[in-house]
């Protein structure tokens, strides 16, 4: 057990010797390479302009999520390899920011605003009602992949509080009933989505 947690002195010595001999790769280069293939063309096209930019990581992740709807494990690995960042940093940054998600979202992303103005206008009731109707919690997707329920800190449309955002459309002055009425028939058969 100890061996798993701590590096034993014998192994440590080996590491030191290896690095002295110059056999260890440079510290900040992504080493583990489970990706045999080059990135798919779409991903390569997103990453190419950012090569060599030290500040490109967040922008690249945002662009990937905009394209694919989420960040998959292999996306992160490709970002690390192609842009030359340690995988740990890529993962650390991706998990730090609220914007990034790691599972494909449903067809409709329903975001209930939890800003202060929405809070004092009882947005928690809307969230609970939608959660009950959809049968999912926050950041979960319905089994039919129609809806993902999310909360957002503030959409900046406070004068129309409480606000619910469905994909890009902002719905103002919501109540629990109005919000569910707006969602209920979205994406059902025969409807133009």
């Amino acid at each position: 057990m100890l061996e798993r947690i701590f590096v034993l002195p014998s192994q440590q010595r080996n590491v030191t010797m290896a690095s002295k001999n110059g056999t260890l790769p440079p510290k900040h280069v992504y080493r583990g390479d489970p990706l045999a293939e080059p990135p798919p063309p779409e991903l390569a096209a997103i990453l190419a302009p950012h090569r060599g930019e030290p500040d490109a990581l967040i922008t690249a992740l945002e662009e990937i999520q905009r394209h694919y709807g989420y960040l998959g494990k292999n996306h992160l690995q490709y970002v690390a390899r192609e842009l030359g960042f340690p995988l740990a940093r890529v993962f650390g940054v991706a998990t730090f920011y609220n914007l990034f998600r790691f599972a494909p979202p449903g067809k409709y992303q329903v975001r209930v605003c939890r800003g202060t103005a929405c809070h004092v206008n009882h947005s928690d009731e809307i969230l609970h009602a939608l959660s009950d109707h959809l049968g999912v919690g926050v950041d979960e997707t319905t089994p039919d992949n129609r809806f993902t329920l999310q909360v957002v800190a503030c959409m900046g449309a406070c004068s129309l509080a409480p606000v619910v955002v469905v994909n890009e459309e902002t719905l103002g002055r919501m109540t629990a009933d109005k919000a569910w009425a707006a969602l209920e028939h979205l994406g059902e058969e025969g409807e133009d989505a």
């Binding site: 967040i58 940054v93 103005a117």
Partner: protein, 538 residues
């Protein structure tokens, strides 16, 4: 003269259905063959009456709202119909160009938001027709020292909330050696309940760019980063468009307007982290790392982005500068108080009758703001408190409503000026629950780097949650103050240092609500749930 009809199409307008109103107007104008120019503008600020439609005809300007698609024909009849129906419709907002008949707009003094809802934000020509980039031309004929002196004389202070004198900050930046200097515009409006930056950028993006260009000349910077929330897609789009237009017009890029100044913009979209509103965390985020704050000093003005001197101001601060140069520092400083000049924009929202974006001269009282401009609480309910400064700010009770809106006066109450979020709570809002709400937010947004913030906010939140659920005792409440003090003194950055403010101010002014929760297990506002018994909100 051709009639101009303007529809407010900011995020708030769209949420209220402005798109449908716009389409209906376009169709009706087309089918009637009317000599009308239809314009999509930003938000004039009166968000509570959206969708807003302004009809500018024969030198008069009449504002209507809310105008639904079904009412479009009636509205056009008023102006173009043979018969003139009674103009006293309930969607008439104001019939005077100066809006004196509508106190919400008439009592405001608009500087940074003067063109929001007036011009088409997608049109550079429209901005140029309203003195656009004239202040930049003027600044380029001045020395950097003269520009800095003008900003100092105007007594402009940081509108992000801390209130540091902008001219002094610029002077420090100007004095730094080296040619590699950066500007940052902090548009990471993370305070829940604030939308000043969004409205300004969506309604008048060039004003921000012009302010930053003037700062670039004063400080000697070569590149400006605008760090803006990804939650504001319309504002991001407006900025990209404005920067492209500026490049073509020659005010962005190499040798700006033939002056030898080189400056360009980079837009960085924030990925949703409240702590990135803190300047050192914001710089880490721009550099592509996790947004975790670092110790100050060194301050960004000396050692900022990639170690280079970096000047950070918020949107409103930069956007104030063009008007200061055009109208003179004396005009600007004449509007405020002795310690700070000019105007401040607030996002007035919550349980208020007239919510929206409000710009007022510094020094107005909270009472004037809430009753004269805001119209008091909605549905005839009683006013309880006003919250300023979001999770870093505090709640001010009714008995302090005669406090002047000024950095120092507000700080004396325990609240802060903040970036401009102003949320009104009525009698149905539980103040313990409000403190719990803000702590839920700060606890969630704490970056985890320093222990007082990471653990302390969690402890605060646990206690507050226990109080709102009737599981706490007076001894728990007594411990809160000490915990708040520790978090305030020991935290690394502003997020932690100010996180206790909502708790401290609610305890100070609404101590009886805390006592009612722990002693009688009653929520005076009737919003908390005890042991499964929901007290009906009524």
């Amino acid at each position: 003269m051709k009639t101009v009809i303007r529809v407010g199409m900011s995020t708030c307008g769209l949420a209220a259905g402005a798109q449908a109103t716009y389409r209906a107007l376009a169709a009706a104008i087309h089918s009637r063959g009317l000599p009308v120019t239809l314009q999509a503008t930003g938000c004039v600020g009166a968000c509570h009456r959206e969708p807003l439609v302004e009809v500018a005809q024969n030198g008069a300007s009449i504002l209507y709202g809310p105008v639904t698609p079904a009412e479009v024909n009636a509205l056009l009849d008023l102006h173009f119909g043979a018969a003139t129906p009674s103009p006293a419709s309930d969607w008439l907002v104001s019939r005077h160009a100066d809006r004196r008949d509508y106190p919400f707009l008439g009592k405001q003094v608009k500087v940074t938001t003067q063109l929001c809802g007036v011009i088409d934000p997608h049109s550079l020509d429209d901005y140029l027709a309203h003195d656009g980039y004239q202040a930049l031309r003027q600044a380029l004929t001045m020395t950097p020292g003269q520009v800095i002196q003008a900003v100092k004389d105007a007594r402009l202070r940081g509108r992000g909330g801390a209130g540091f004198p902008t001219g002094v900050k610029w002077e420090i930046g100007h004095r730094q050696p080296g040619a590699r200097k950066f500007l940052i515009c902090n548009a990471d409006e993370g305070d829940p309940g604030a939308f000043m930056d969004r409205t300004m950028i969506e309604g008048d993006p060039h004003r921000l760019l012009e302010g930053m260009l003037i700062a670039a000349h004063a400080i000697g910077a070569s590149r400006g980063y605008i760090y803006i929330r990804a939650e504001y897609p319309l504002a991001v789009k407006a900025l990209h468009e404005a920067i492209d237009q500026g490049r073509r017009y020659g005010v962005i890029g190499q040798n700006i307007l033939g002056s030898g100044l080189d400056f360009d913009f980079v837009i960085k979209e924030g990925a949703g982290a409240f702590v990135c509103g803190e300047e050192t965390a914001l710089m880490r985020s721009i550099e592509g790392f996790r947004g975790m704050p670092t110790m100050r000093p060194p301050y960004p003005s000396e050692h900022g982005l990639w170690g280079a001197p970096t000047n950070i101001n918020n949107v409103e601060t930069y956007a104030s500068v063009p008007s200061i140069l055009l109208n003179g520092p004396g005009w600007y400083s004449g509007m405020g108080t002795a310690r700070s000049g000019g105007t401040k924009a607030f996002a007035l929202a919550g349980a208020i009758q007239n919510s929206g974006l409000v710009e007022i001269p510094i020094g107005l009282t909270l009472r004037e703001m809430i009753y004269d401009i805001g119209g008091g609480c909605r549905d005839g309910k009683a006013f309880k408190a006003v919250q300023l400064g979001g999770p870093s700010g505090g709640c001010i009770p009714a008995e302090l409503l005669d406090t002047r809106i000024d950095y120092e006066d507000l700080r004396a109450t325990g609240a802060i000026m903040g970036s401009g979020g102003m949320i009104v709570a009525d009698e149905t809002t539980c103040m313990v629950d409000i403190a719990r709400y803000f702590l839920t937010f700060t606890q969630d947004e704490s970056c985890g780097k320093c222990i007082p913030c990471r653990v302390g906010t969690r402890k605060l939140l646990n206690t507050l949650t226990a109080i709102t659920q009737g599981r706490a005792t007076q001894a728990d409440v007594d411990k809160l103050a000490g915990l708040c003090n520790t978090i305030h003194k020991a935290s690394l950055c502003g997020l932690g240092q100010t996180a206790p403010n909502p708790v401290l101010t609610t305890m100070r002014y609404f101590g009886h609500e805390y006592r009612a929760h722990v002693e009688e297990h009653v929520c005076p506002a009737g919003s908390c749930t005890f042991n499964g018994n929901t007290i009906d909100r009524g």
